[in-house]
């Protein structure tokens, strides 16, 4: 596996992927992302959770990286060049969300990271909806994992 001749390719793989791989990726990535979000949201009652959802999201995006090259994602999202800064902000925000979700109970007189479950009754269609504050914490976990892993992938991939 030798590097292409030009000076510094965005990724050594982008020009060597096949039509099949690219087409499959286009189909698979949205499904994977949906699955990841589903895993995140259902985590409280079924297998899943913030960490698994986060890693799966990263896997889907890494697939985009490998198949379409490092700059594709940035160009598509309109954040060319500053993507790593965005990832950094993402994991910082994730940590912040997790921390704040732990601090809120302190203000309300509970202990750090106490989680509660609220039941919203008499909703149209749903009837009763169960809302766990743990979801906020899980969202923090999700964003931290996604942001941190993408930083690693983007930085290592750019090497």
């Amino acid at each position: 596996m030798s590097a292409p001749d030009d000076e510094r390719p965005p990724s050594p793989y982008d020009r060597r992927t096949t039509v099949i791989l690219r087409t499959v990726t286009r189909l698979v990535v949205p499904v994977t992302l949906m699955t990841a979000v589903a895993l995140l949201l259902q985590g409280h009652n079924l297998p899943g959770g913030g960490f698994i959802g986060g890693v799966l999201t990263v896997t889907a995006l890494v697939l985009v990286y490998v198949v379409f090259g490092g700059s594709y994602l940035g160009e598509t999202l309109g954040a060319s060049g500053g993507l790593v800064a965005g990832y950094r902000a993402l994991f910082a925000a994730g940590l912040g969300v997790a921390l704040v979700s732990g601090l809120v109970p302190l203000v309300l007189g509970g202990r750090f990271l106490t989680q509660a479950v609220f039941f919203v009754e008499h909703l149209p269609l749903y009837g009763e909806l169960e809302v766990a504050t743990a979801l906020a914490f899980d969202l923090g976990v999700y964003f931290t994992v996604v942001g941190a892993l993408l930083v690693v992938v983007a930085e290592v991939g750019a090497e």
Partner: protein, 809 residues
């Protein structure tokens, strides 16, 4: 000046805490003040000190005495206690009162200097720390404030951070005082341990002092009494610049002169003698023999310091150097005073704390004026300054005569008490104890010599080489005059000061009840008076040979550097880089594999040693139980085969792929043992790792190199040890079955109760126990883990970005 003894008021927590907290609040606001008022910010800082002084005065006026405490770290029996008594008030008066003067003086002295915000902020923080040391009622709070004074002192000595000598001096003071503080901490822990043996463990000093006999017995029984005493004494000695740790104090004169006056004469160096006084009733029994461990350690140390540093002061060539050695010498006098079991000793210590602070702070301010206006601090170049600085000369003369211990000045009385204690001890014990009074007199002769030499700067002929000497600004002169006035006030009415404050200071340093003492008028010929007469006569006679003495001592020290403690300090400091250079190549090889071997090897050794130390028996697995199915066995075998294949893989691609087989087999195993969450995580992570490997694969060499047999054997052995450790850990941890309490509690509490209200706090409310444990029951663990993930990402970012900037190889 009357203290209403008998009507004791408990200290109000808020007011006492405010004394300590105000300077810190002020320190935070200083940058703002400097921006608004520029150089006049010094007056704002002086106002803060004045408020503290007012609060302390109010505490004193109301006769407040006792300890208040607030909860701090209850699980470690640590309280945040504040204690007010005579000793605490005296040191607080010095810290806040001299603080007012020094801040005012700084407004003039620091004219046009850079870094004013840093200077005033740190100086205020120092004042708060010092007030904290004085008022701390428990050992932990005392230690924290103690180290804070070391750190602020470090910053102030290194104020001119672009000067090499400042940086070296700051580092020296930090190394010595903080190291001493750590010894002291161990001593404190031993005291608290002793308190815990016979009752409630506590760090509160008043409670420890109440139980002093019991603590001494407990420590004595296990042979730890003298070690504890020594540990605490090391802390006090390093802070108060006792021999041989005195070497940091002359170097500390690199600091701006107001700092020297404040920290290195009046307050911070008093922390050590304060500690000696504070813990004196703890270590010294009321019915003590005259020469016990306490006296042997502290009186000897103090007298030695007093004499050695007085001799060194005589050979000093710089005004501030002379004052620095003289400070160490007088601190030795105070330590020696507290060291004697005689009542007169503690009287000497308590009284001299006040006297020394007054005359020495005045002299430092005088030195600052001289350096500022005459442009030099070299003793040889200064003479006849009274023509240019008449008021300064008067202040210096009064302060020097008090320092020399000449009657009727204030310093005379405290020295008399010391002579009295030394003589009485020697008289009662006899033999080698006669060294005490002899050394005390010798030290005092040298003290007399350099005191007169300092005063002589202002008399005699004015040398032509001395340029124009300006009059100092009022902001610099007024504080010096005020301190000179204080010396005169104590001189005029020593008994009033004793009745007002020093008596209760003395009371705080003696075991049992004591509340005051009287200052005897020198009317009849007593042994101490004779000793004073000898001192003055010998001093007056030998002053004629001061020049030869000064040169001779300087020459001796230059010829025999090993006589100086600095020689040993410099040697020790120089050997540190040498040691580092010798050991680094062995530890830091730059090879990832050796770091990995060290990390996993150390982990394995520590874990195994832990099991052995705790005497954990390795549980024998009960064979393949009924839970193991044929499918599991097949998966496990495939995983084992894949593991072997990873090691034997001829290339990276093959290695990565076989590793992924191993990971996937583990995921299948998780599915088979009904752990869907684990299986999901394993699969997703496995996929991600595979993709990441693909990203970096082209960077690695295509083939593994050949490895030697020795390394293969060594690495194989290490792998086996690590594998065995993990296996043992799994067996040990899973064998400890907490009666299913944990499992049942978790699974019961994770879900929903049959009946519930609109809000649930005690229940997880989720069907997935694993997730409820992660986000709810053990949420703080998860928070820690995602922090680790974020930090790892930051580390990757930093390493790669730094390489681009050429900061790493």
């Amino acid at each position: 000046m009357a203290l209403s003894v008998g009507c004791v008021v408990a200290p109000p927590l808020s007011q006492t805490a405010a004394v300590v907290a105000l300077p810190f609040v002020g320190a935070l606001l200083v940058p703002l003040a400097v921006r608004v008022a520029a150089e006049r910010a010094g007056y704002a800082a002086a106002a803060v000190a004045l408020v503290c002084l007012g609060l302390v005065t109010d505490l004193w006026r109301r006769g407040v005495h006792g300890t208040v405490s607030a909860e701090w770290i209850p699980t470690l029996d640590v309280a945040f206690a504040l204690h007010v008594d005579g000793l605490a008030l005296l040191i607080s008066f010095l810290a806040s009162g001299v603080g007012v003067l020094v801040f005012t003086y700084s407004a003039g002295y620091m004219h046009g200097e850079p870094g004013l915000a840093k200077y005033y902020a740190v100086l205020l923080a120092f004042m708060g720390s010092m007030l904290g040391v004085a008022l701390a009622g428990d050992l932990v709070a005392l230690f924290v404030f103690w180290e804070l004074t070391s750190i602020t002192s470090f910053l102030l000595i290194g104020h001119y951070s672009d000067r090499d000598s400042s940086v070296r001096a700051a580092r020296k003071s930090l190394v010595i005082t903080v190291a001493g503080g750590l010894f002291m901490l161990v001593g404190f822990l031993l005291l608290a341990w002793a308190a815990g043996q016979g009752g409630e463990p506590t760090y509160v000093i008043a409670a420890l002092v109440d139980r002093a006999p019991e603590l001494r017995a407990t420590l004595g029984d296990v042979g730890l009494f003298v070690p504890t005493l020594l540990l605490v004494a090391v802390g006090a000695a390093t802070k108060s610049a006792q021999v041989p740790a005195h070497i940091w104090l002359p170097d500390a004169m690199e600091a701006p002169t107001p700092v020297s006056a404040f920290l290195h004469s009046a307050t911070m160096v008093k922390a050590g003698v304060y500690l000696v006084g504070r813990l004196r009733p703890l270590f010294l029994p009321a019915e003590a023999s005259l020469v016990g461990a306490w006296t042997l350690v502290l009186a000897a140390l103090g007298l030695l310091t007093m004499t050695v540093c007085a001799v060194l002061a005589v050979q000093a060539t710089d005004v501030k150097e002379l004052l620095a050695y003289s400070t160490a010498s007088h601190l030795g006098l105070i330590v020696a005073g507290f060291g004697f079991a005689e009542a007169a000793g503690a009287e000497a210590g308590a009284f001299h704390v006040l006297n020394h602070a007054a005359f020495k702070a005045a002299l430092f301010l005088v030195a600052g004026i001289v350096a500022h206006e005459a442009g030099t601090r070299r003793i040889a170049e200064l003479s006849g300054l009274r023509h240019d600085l008449p008021i300064t000369a008067a202040v210096a003369t009064v302060a020097c005569l008090s320092m020399a211990g000449l009657p009727p000045f204030a310093g005379f009385y405290s020295k008399e008490f010391l002579f009295d204690a030394a003589y009485e001890t020697a008289h009662a014990v006899g033999g080698a104890a006669w060294l005490f009074p002899v050394v005390a007199v010798v030290g005092s002769v040298f003290t007399f010599l350099y005191s007169i030499r300092f005063a002589a700067l202002f008399y005699g002929d004015r040398p032509d080489a001395l340029g124009t000497v300006h009059s100092p600004p009022a902001a610099m002169l007024a504080p010096a005059v005020l301190l000179g006035g204080l010396v005169l006030a104590v001189t005029a009415a020593p008994q009033a000061f004793v009745d007002g404050l020093i008596g209760s200071t003395y009371g705080a340093t003696v075991p049992g009840e004591a509340g005051g003492f009287s200052v005897p008028a020198p009317t009849k010929l007593s042994p101490p008076l004779v000793m004073s007469a000898i001192t003055i006569a010998a001093g007056a006679v030998s002053y004629r040979g001061y020049g030869r003495l000064h040169d001779g001592l300087g020459g001796l020290l230059a010829a025999r550097p090993a006589l100086r403690a600095n020689y040993w300090y410099d040697g020790a400091m120089a050997s540190l880089p040498w040691l580092s250079i010798r050991t680094t190549p062995a530890v830091q090889t730059g090879l990832l594999r050796s770091y990995a071997s060290m990390a996993v090897g150390a982990t394995a050794v520590l874990a195994l040693a832990g099991y052995v130390a705790a005497g954990v028996a390795l549980p024998v697995p009960p064979g393949l139980g009924p839970g193991v199915t044929a499918a599991m066995a097949v998966v496990a075998v495939v995983a084992a085969v894949a593991a072997v294949a990873v090691v034997r893989a001829p290339s990276h691609v093959a290695g990565v792929l076989t590793l992924s087989i191993l990971g996937s087999m583990l995921a299948v195993l998780y599915v088979l043992v009904d752990a869907p969450d684990l299986a999901l995580t394993q699969l997703v992570v496995e996929t991600l790792v595979l993709v990441l490997f693909l990203l970096v694969l082209h960077r690695l060499p295509a083939f593994y190199g050949e490895i030697g047999t020795a390394r293969a054997v060594r690495d194989g052995a290490l792998s086996l040890v690590v594998g065995a450790t993990v296996a043992a850990t799994v067996l040990v941890t899973t064998a400890a079955d907490p009666n299913d309490v944990l499992a049942t509690t978790l699974s019961e509490r994770a879900g929903l109760p049959a009946e519930h209200g609109p809000v649930l706090v005690d229940w997880g409310g989720g069907g997935n126990v694993v997730n409820v444990v992660l986000v709810d029951f053990r949420g703080i663990d998860t928070l820690g883990e995602i922090t680790v993930v974020a930090v790892a990402a930051l580390a990757v970012l930093t390493l790669i970005r730094m390489r681009d900037r050429g900061e790493t190889p």
